[in-house]
Symmetry: D3
Subunit: 285 residues, 6 copies
C-alpha cells in the first residue's frame, strides 16, 4: 500500500468520525466473534479505536455455548420449551457465573489493548430491571426474563469518565431474583435507554440474504415497512426474527440506524462505522 | 426503650458522623457474616446507613467456602502447599466464576436495601495489578497472586457519584493473566490506595484474645510496636497473623485506624463506627 | 441498653435519613425550648445532627419574653390591640436589638456544638419583604408587618455551602422601614419559598388535643379538610389557630409535611425526623 | 459641567477600576460618617458603586456613641480603665444588641441603594475568634477582647456570590463567651485574613497632620519606617496611634496600601479609590 | 472641578453601571471616529471602560475610505450601481486585506489601553453566513452580500473569557466565497443574534434632525411607529435610512434600545451609556 | 484495497491516536503546500482529522510569495540585507494586509471541511510580543522583529472550546508597533509556550539529506548533539539552518518531538502523525 493510499483510508474515515463524534453505539457481541481468538482481538480493537476517536461504545454480550458447557460439566440437564431453556435455580446460578467470567474476560482484553473497560451486569445499580417471561404456551420456564426498565445512570457515568462498559444480560426482578435475558433484547433496550445513535448486532451469517443459500444475495438495507413482506416471503425467519425485532424496537425508540453484521469478518464493526464499505444489512426507518 | 434513650443513641452517633463525614472506610467482608442470611442483611444495612450519612464504604469480599464447594461439584481436586491452594488454570476459572456470582449477590442486596451498589473485580479498568506469588519454599502454586499496584480511579469515580463499590479479590497480571489474591491483603492495599480513614476486617472470632480460650480476655487495642512481643508470647498466631499484617501495612500507608471485628455480632460495623461500644480489636499506630 | 438495641435505633433511622437526604426542613424555634438551657442544648444538637446526615435545617426564631423584659427595663410601656403589641418606633428598635442578640446566641451555640451557624435577619439581602399589618379593626398598630415576599437566594447560598441559617423574624418594607413579624408566619413563608420538605413548629403544649385537659387525647394527625370542623368543635382555638394556619399555607405552597411539636420534650425534633415515635400533631394535606 | 468634563471624570476612573478589579477593600466605618444621615448615604453609595465595578468592599463598623447612649438609658454605669470601658456581662449584652441593630441598619441601607448587603458578627461561623484582653496594668476589664484568629470562609463565600458583608466587631472566645473588640483592629485583621488589597479607616480628622492645629499641614503619605520618629516628634499620638498600628499590621500581613481618610468629606472613599484626588494620609510600606 | 463634583459624576454613573451589568452592547464603529486619532483613542477608551465595569462591548467596524484609497493605489477602478460598489474578485481581495488590517489596528489599540481585544472576521468559525445581494434592478454587483445567519458561538466564548471582539463585516457564502457586507447591517444582525441589550451606531452627524440644516432641531427619540411619517416628511432620507432600518430590525429581534450617535463628539459612547446626557437619537420601540 | 487492508490502516493509527490524545501539535505551514490547491486541501483535511480524533493542531503560516507580489503591484521596492527584507512602514502595512487575507483564507477552508477555524494574529490579545531585530551587521532593517514573549491564553481558550487557531506571524512591540517575524521562529516559540507535544515544519525539500543531490540519502533522525558536526560537514546549511534552530529551541523548551517534513507530499502531516511511515527528518533530543 502506498503512503497516499494509507492517507486515503484515514481521510475516508474523517466524515464518519465527525458524524459519530460524542455519539453512543451499542454493540451486541456474541457468536463466533466471541469464541475465535483472532476475531475477539479484532472486535476489541475496534471498540478501543472507536473510544479513542470520541465515540462511546457500549457492549452487551451473550454466552450460550459456554453456559451449555458448564451445565454439562456440572451434570445439570437442560430442558427446552419452544427453543427457550427452562432456567431453574441451579441453572440460573451457572448462567450468572459463566456470564460473569466471560464479562470480565472481555473487560480484561479491552484493558490490555489500551482501553479502559468496566464489566457490569444488570444487577449493578439496578441497571436492568426484569420481569418473568413465560414460554410459548404461557408455560413457566423459570428465571427467563424480559426487560421492563433500564436505569442507565451508571452506564452514563462510566461513559462520561472515559470507560467502555461491558454488560452481561442478567436482569434483576422487583422481587430481587435474577433473570436470564436474551442479549439481543438487552442490546436493543440499552440503545433506546441511552439514546444511542447506532445499534450493531453481530451474527454468524452475512446479514439478511434474499436467498439463504446465496451469499451474493445480501440485502444491504431493509426498511421497517418492508419487514412484513419479507416475513411472508420467508426471507426473514428463524433466529433472524428476534434480531430484526430488536432493531425495529430501537428505531422506534429513537436510535438512528441499526445493523446486523457478519461477526465472522474481522473488523466488521470498524468497516461499518468508518468506511463506505457495505457490510451486513442495515435495518432502516 | 424510652424516646429519650432513642434520642440518646442518635446523639451519641453525632460526633462519629461528624468525624467520618466524607471519609472512606474499607471493609473486608468474609466468613460467617457472608453465609448467615441475617448477618448478611445486617452488614449490608450498615453499609447503606454509612453511605447515607456521608461516609464512603468500599467492600472487598472473600469467598473461600463457596469456591471449595463448586470445585468439589466439578470434581476438581485441590492441592494445598503451606496452607495456600495450588491454583491451576481450571481452578482459577472456578474462582473467578464463584467470586463473580457472590459479588453480584452482595451488590443486589445493597440495591434492595436502598443503596446503589456496583460490583467490580480487579480486572475492571485494571483496578488491581497482581504478580505471581510463590509458595512457602518458592514453589510454583499457580495463579495465586499478590497486589503490586492499585489503580483507584474507577473506584473513586463511582464513590463520588454515590455508589457503593463491592470488589472481588481477583487481580490481573502484566501478562493479562488472572490471579487469585487473599482478600485481606486486597482490602489493606485498597485502603492505602484510596487514602481511606479506616480499615475494618470482619472475622469469625471476638478479636485478639490474650488467652485464646477466654473471650473476656479481649485486647481492645494493640499498638504496632507491641506486635512482635505478642507474637513471641503466642497471643498472635495462625490466621490472625496476615490480618494484623494488613492492618500494619494500611497504617504505614496512612490509614488512620484499623479494626479486626467479630463478624458474628450483628451490626458490628455500625457499633464500631457510630458508638462508644468496644467491639473487637483496634490495631493502632 | 444492649449493643443490639443501640444498633436498632440507628437502623430505625436509616429510612428517614434516606427520605430526607438533601431536603430542607424549616423549624420555628420559640417558647420554653428557647429559655431552658438544657432544652436549648438539645434543640441545637438536633439541628447539627440533621445537617451532618445531609438534611438542611433552617431556623426561624421568636423572642417574645426577652423583648418584654428589655422594654420593661427601658421603661417603654406596651399597648396591646387584639393580642398584638402596638409597635411604635422606640419599641421596634428594642425588638430588633433583642432579636439580634438572641439570633447570634443561637448561632454561637450551633458553632460550639460543631455546626456552622450563620445568623440572619429579614433585612439581609432583602430576605423578607414586609408590609404594614393593621390590627383587628383596621387599627394602626405601628411596625407590625406581614410577609409579602421572600428572596431566598442568600439562604440557599449559605445552605449550599454547608451553613445552618438562623433567621430573625424582622422584615423590611418597600419604604425601608423595619417590621416585626410573627415568627410562625415567617417560618411558613420561608418553608414555601425554599420549597422545604418539612415545617416543624415548636410549641409549649403536647400538640393538638381533642380534650384540652387530657394530654392522652393528642391528635397525631389532622387533615386540612377537617380543620373547619375542629374549629367548630372548639378543639382548635386561641394561639394554636395561627400555627395551624401557617401549616396549611405551607402545605398549599408545596411543603410535604408540617408538624406542631412539644418543644418541652428534649430532642422532639430528632424523634420526629428520625424515628417512628409519635410526637405532637402532624397537619397533613 | 460640560459633557466632555463628565467623560473626563469617568476616563480618569478607568485605571483605578482596572487596578482594583476583583480586589478586596476593607473599610473601617465609624465616627461622624456613621451618625450624619447625608454622610451615611454617601458612604453606602460608594460601597455599592465599588461592588458594581468589580471591587469587593468589606465593612467593619463601630458603634461607640450609640452603645454609651443605651447603657445610660438602662442605667448601667461604665467604668473606664486606661481609656478602655470595663465590660461586665450586662454591658456586653448591651454592646451586642446595639452593634447588631446598627449592623442591620447599614445592611438595609445598602439594599435600598441597590446593593446586596449581608450583616454578620464575629460569631457567625466563628468568623472572629477572640481572647480576653487585659487593661493597662494587667487589670481584668471584663469582656474586652483581641482578635486571635479570623475564619474568613463565610465572608469569602458571600463576597463570591456578590454580597457586601458588614461586620460587627464582636468576637467569640474558645469558651463560647462574647468579646467586644476595637473595630480598627478587627478591620486590620480582616484585611490581612482576606488578603485584601486596601484597608481604609474612616476618621473624624483630616488625616495625620504635621501640626495638629493646621489642616493644611496634612501628611499625604507616611512610611512605616518613619513612624517612630513621628511618634517622638509628637505628630502621632492619642487615638491616631492604634489606627496607625492597624495599618502597619495590615501592611506586614500583605495588604498593599492602607489609608486614614476624613470621613467627614462626602464620598471620601470614592475619591480615594477612583480619582487622583489626595484625601487623608496613606500609610505606606 | 471640585472633588464633590467629581464624586457626583461617578455617582451619576452608578445606576447605569447597575442597569447594564453583564449586558452586551454592540457598537457600529465607522466614519470620522475611525480616522481621527484623538476620536479613535476616545472610542477605544470607552470600550475598555465599559468592559471593566462589567459590560460586554462588541465592535463591528467599517472601512470605506481606506478601501477606496487602496483600490486607487492598485489602479483598480470601481463602478457603482445605485450607490453600491460593484465588487469583482480583485476588488473583494482588496476589501478583505484593508478591513483585516484596520481590524487588527483597532484590536491593537484596545490592548494598548489595557483591554484584551480579539480581531475577527465573519469567516472565523463561520461567524457570518452571507448570500449574494443583487443591485437595485436585480443587477449582479459581484461579491456584495447580505447576512443570512449569525453563528455567535465564537463571539460568546471570547466575551465570556473577558475579551473584546472586533468584527470585520466580511461574510462567507455557502459556496465558500467571501462577501462584503454593509457594516450597519452586520451590527444589527449581531445585536439580534447576541441578544444584546443595546445597539449603538456611530455616524458623522448629530443624529436625526427635524431640519437638516439646524443642529438644534435634533430629535432625541423617535418611535418605530413614527418612522413612516418621518420618511414621508423627508426628515429621514439618504444614508440615514439603512441605519434606522438596522435599528428597527434589532428592536424587532429583542434588542432593548438602539442609538444613532454623533461619532464626532469625543466619548459619545460613554456619555450615552453612563450619563443622563442626551446625545444623538434613540430609536425606540 | 481489500476491506481488511482498510481496517489495517485504521488499526495502525490506533496507537498514535492514543498517544497524541489531548496533545497540542504546532504546524508551520508555508511554501509549496500553501500555493498548490490540491496540497492546501490535503493539509487542511489533515488538520481537521487531527482535531476530530482529539489532537489540538495550531497552525502558524507564512506568506512570502504573496507579499512580494503585492509589493510589486503597489510599486514598493524591497531592499534586502543579509537575506532579510528591509521592512519600512509602507512595506509593513502590505505585510499585514497580505498575511491577514491569507490567514482568513486558511480559516475559511478549514470551516468548509467541517472544522472550526479561528484566524488570529500576534496582535490579538497581545498573543505575540516582539522586539526589533537588527540585520546582520547591527543594521536597522525596519519592522523586522523577533519573539520576546508569547501570551498563550487566547489560543488556549479557543483550543479548549474546540476551535483550530491559525496564526499570522505578526508581533506587537511594547511601543505598539507591528513587527514581521519569521514564521518558523513563531512556530517554535508557540510550541514552547503551549507546551506542545510536537512541532512540525513543512518545507519544500525531502528533509535533511546527507547528500543534497540524492533524495535517497534522507536522514530520518538527527540528534541535537550531532548538529554541530552536520554543520561542519556542510550537510546542514542555508535555509535549513533556522528551521533546525527552531526545532532545537522547541526541544529545549520541553516539546517532545520536532519534524521537518516535505510539504510537497500530500497528507505528509497525516502520515507523520498517524502511521509508521517515515516522512522527512525528525530532530530529536
Amino acid at each position: 500500500m502506498t503512503p497516499l493510499e494509507k492517507a486515503g483510508v484515514l481521510v475516508e474515515a474523517l466524515p464518519y468520525i465527525k458524524k459519530f463524534y460524542g455519539k453512543t453505539v451499542v454493540i451486541k457481541y456474541g457468536g463466533h466473534a466471541m469464541i475465535n481468538d483472532q476475531l475477539k482481538q479484532a472486535v476489541v480493537t475496534d471498540l478501543v479505536l472507536m473510544k479513542f476517536v470520541g465515540i462511546h461504545p457500549v457492549v452487551v454480550h451473550g454466552g450460550g455455548p459456554e453456559i451449555t458447557g458448564m451445565l454439562k460439566r456440572l451434570g445439570i440437564e437442560s430442558q427446552f420449551v419452544g427453543g427457550l431453556r427452562v432456567t431453574d435455580s441451579p441453572t440460573m446460578e451457572v448462567v450468572e457465573m459463566v456470564l460473569g467470567k466471560l464479562n470480565k474476560e472481555i473487560t480484561s482484553l479491552i484493558n490490555r489493548l489500551g482501553g479502559r473497560g468496566v464489566g457490569l451486569s444488570g444487577k449493578d445499580a439496578n441497571l436492568i430491571i426484569a420481569a418473568k417471561k413465560l414460554g410459548g404456551e404461557q408455560q413457566d420456564i423459570g428465571f427467563v426474563g424480559e426487560v421492563t426498565e433500564i436505569n442507565p445512570g451508571l452506564v452514563e457515568t462510566v461513559l462520561k469518565e472515559g470507560y467502555i462498559p461491558i454488560i452481561s444480560p442478567v436482569g434483576v426482578g422487583r422481587d430481587g431474583e435474577s433473570y436470564n435475558i436474551n442479549a439481543d433484547y438487552v442490546a436493543g433496550a440499552m440503545a433506546k435507554a441511552l439514546k444511542a445513535d447506532k445499534l450493531i448486532i453481530l451474527t454468524d451469517v452475512e446479514g439478511i440474504l434474499e436467498n439463504r443459500h446465496d451469499p451474493s444475495s445480501l440485502l444491504s438495507t431493509i426498511k421497517v415497512q418492508d419487514i412484513p413482506a419479507l416475513v411472508d416471503r420467508g426471507v426473514l425467519q428463524g433466529g433472524m426474527l428476534p434480531k430484526v425485532d430488536c432493531c425495529v424496537e430501537a428505531i422506534r425508540g429513537g436510535v438512528n440506524s441499526t445493523h446486523i453484521l457478519d461477526g465472522r469478518v474481522p473488523h466488521s464493526i470498524l468497516l461499518e462505522v468508518f468506511t463506505d464499505q457495505g457490510i451486513g444489512t442495515m435495518v432502516a426507518p
